[in-house]
């Protein structure tokens, strides 16, 4: 084999390696996107409506009926201890960067996922939270949660 042929072969092998690299990147992106619940061509606003629709169906009790398996709700608990805290029992959905807390007075509070501590993640002094939405770094909605209020030991009825 001549030097020229060797150079051509090396060039071909390099190109093949680059193609394989690109394929691996594309595959990784695809897998990552699947884990984030792909939106297809859906806009962020549309995805938000779809998520809340799924959550409403779940909250109306449609889970468990007719074999429906679509689950949009995550489990989050509010512990009214001396220092009230939100406990994200299921952890955070994959890719969560932003968390929106919907409060009882109709206002919203944005929290960065990095502000949570502990395992499972917790948030101190969250306020009167009723529902929660989880978004990724591009603010694409990922999941929704109804907050379950856990009574403190020996406490009276929850208001």
């Amino acid at each position: 084999m001549t030097t020229n042929q060797n150079n051509q072969l090396a060039e071909i092998l390099t190109k093949i390696a680059k193609i394989e690299e690109r394929q691996a990147e594309a595959l990784a992106a695809l897998v990552s996107d699947r884990e984030r619940a792909p939106l297809g061509g859906m806009g962020i606003g549309q995805a938000g409506i779809e998520l809340r629709f799924r959550a409403l169906r779940n909250a109306l009790g449609n889970m468990g009926r007719r074999g429906e398996t679509d689950l949009a709700l995550r489990q989050v608990e509010l512990h009214p201890d001396d220092t009230p805290r939100l406990v994200f029992v299921d952890g955070l959905p994959f890719g969560t960067e932003h968390i929106t807390l919907f409060l009882a007075d109709g206002k919203q509070r944005a929290v960065a996922a990095s502000a949570l501590t502990g395992q499972p993640p917790q948030l101190l002094k969250p306020g009167e939270v009723r529902t929660i939405q989880f978004d990724d770094e591009g603010h694409r909605p990922l999941a929704f949660a109804l907050v379950r209020r856990v009574p403190a030991a020996g406490a009276g009825p929850i208001k």
């Binding site: 549309q46 779940n58 468990g64 009926r65 709700l73 939405q133 109804l146 907050v147 009825p157």
Partner: protein, 444 residues
């Protein structure tokens, strides 16, 4: 609400995967269930869910919840429900400490008014009322189990006598004494529709239509049917890569906006909110009764194969026991009730009025089975089957009659053809004369 309670008993955080527990639900004392409804009302339901718009639109005025609920301390201390049964209940569940099941879980939504309307259209209330009546006045039905006796007692206490004073579900009074007329009045105002069967008892004329003034949504069914047609056009043409696409997201959004405005018009100031809550709870009780092979279903030998069976089959079997035949389309009506409730909530909350958001009703966005589009597709199938209105064939029919290509959007907006709405969920299968055709026929 009672179907949600049955779900919560086996699955307190609504995480899915577990079947509801109707037996334990029916074992709870009726006074606890009555108080539990009061607690759920105070949670605010869909009015407490995050809204996309800055102006709250749920229930006409979300403040209606706070203004009509029991004072917090009275409700949470003196009149609390203590509902937190363990599943399965072998005896009557104990009175548990607070908070009650479901009350601790965010704002639990309740069903839209379309749910009780469609479920009642199956004739379930007339059939089950007759079952209860026969069990309490004689022995013409098979011997009941203790669980059935408890169900009969709870059913009579909760739905066939006046609720406790000052209860949010107290919707009968000296001014509107007939509960059935009151329900028909609410359905008429909201959807411009009557139930497909005549009322029980000696009721002259149609008193539920009196004094409603201009307050009946006579255009609802017409607009809704047009929306289904337009959504089907969208689904059919979603994958068009070449050629014309007659889908018009602006028109779909306009129809959603118009339907939403109609519904909100009837709710101004929070009107009909209590009725919607109470009737939804009532019909969910009876729906739950025939959704599974419960004690009363088994005692009446009306089982339909455990959890896989269909409520319409159980209802038909019970109906034969008491001489009332439900409409042929009861099967579709039960399923439609579940599917339409969240869709109409979202239409009413203006979620689909923008053309971009209206696309959610029919576009797949490259995903295999997007939930909103799949729901609409199923609704169209069931609606066709229940009403005989060929939504999916409309393009072909129009093409043949007009001799040209079908128009996705009419050149002018549709107007009512008469004051009488043409929709009737039981059409073309009205109840036979030996069924609900006359009140005397209810008790052969």
């Amino acid at each position: 609400m009672f179907r949600t309670l049955a779900q919560l008993i086996s699955d307190p955080t609504l995480k899915g995967g577990l079947a509801p527990d109707p037996a334990t639900t029916f074992a709870i004392h009726p006074i606890q269930l009555s108080r539990w409804l009061e607690e759920i009302w105070a949670g605010g339901g869909v009015a407490s869910w995050p809204q996309a718009s800055a102006t709250p639109k749920a229930l006409g005025d979300p403040a209606v919840i706070d203004r009509l609920k029991l004072p917090d301390n009275l409700r949470d201390v003196g009149l609390r429900s203590g509902v937190r049964p363990t599943s399965p209940a072998t005896t009557q569940p104990a009175f548990a400490g607070p908070p009650a099941l479901g009350v601790d879980l965010g704002p639990l939504p309740w069903e839209h008014m379309i749910y009780p309307y469609l479920v009642e259209s199956t004739g379930i209330l007339q059939i089950m009322a007759e079952v209860v009546r026969r069990y309490v006045v004689g022995e013409t039905l098979p011997t009941p189990s203790v669980a059935t006796v408890a169900w009969v007692r709870a059913t009579e206490e909760l739905f066939f006598r006046d609720p406790p004073l000052f209860h949010v579900g107290g919707l009968t009074s000296q001014l509107r004494p007939d509960a059935e007329v009151n329900r028909r009045n609410a359905y008429w105002r909201m959807f411009g529709c009557d139930l497909p069967h005549p009322p029980r008892g000696p009721i002259q004329g149609q008193p539920w239509k009196q004094d409603t003034g201009p307050g009946a949504n006579l255009r609802f069914i017409e607009l809704w049917t047009d929306l289904l047609r337009q959504v089907w056009v969208g689904i059919e043409n979603d994958r068009n890569q070449v050629g014309a696409n007659p889908t018009d997201p602006n028109y779909v959004g306009y129809l959603c906006q118009t339907i939403g405005e109609l519904l909100r018009l009837r709710r101004r100031g929070g009107l009909l909110a209590r009725e919607e809550f109470a009737y939804g709870a009532m019909l969910s009780w009876f729906h739950l009764t025939v959704e599974f092979d419960t004690a009363v279903v088994e005692d009446l030998s009306a089982g339909a194969g455990g959890t896989g069976g269909n409520p319409a089959d159980r209802l038909a079997a019970i109906g034969t026991r008491v001489g009332i035949v439900p409409p042929r389309h009861a099967r579709e009506l039960f399923e439609l009730a579940d599917l339409l409730s969240p869709v109409l909530w979202f239409v009413e909350l203006d979620q689909f009025s923008a053309p971009a958001n209206a696309e959610l009703l029919y576009r797949s966005f490259g995903t295999p089975n997007p939930p909103i589009r799949a729901t609409m597709n199923r609704i169209i199938d069931l609606w066709q089957s229940a009403t005989g209105d060929r939504i999916k064939d409309s393009a072909v029919t129009t093409s043949r009659s007009a001799g040209g290509a079908p128009q996705a959007q009419p050149t002018r907006l549709p107007t009512p053809t008469s004051s009488t709405p043409r929709f009737n969920p039981a059409v073309p299968a009205p109840l036979g004369p030996n069924a609900n055709g006359a009140s005397a026929a209810h008790r052969p």
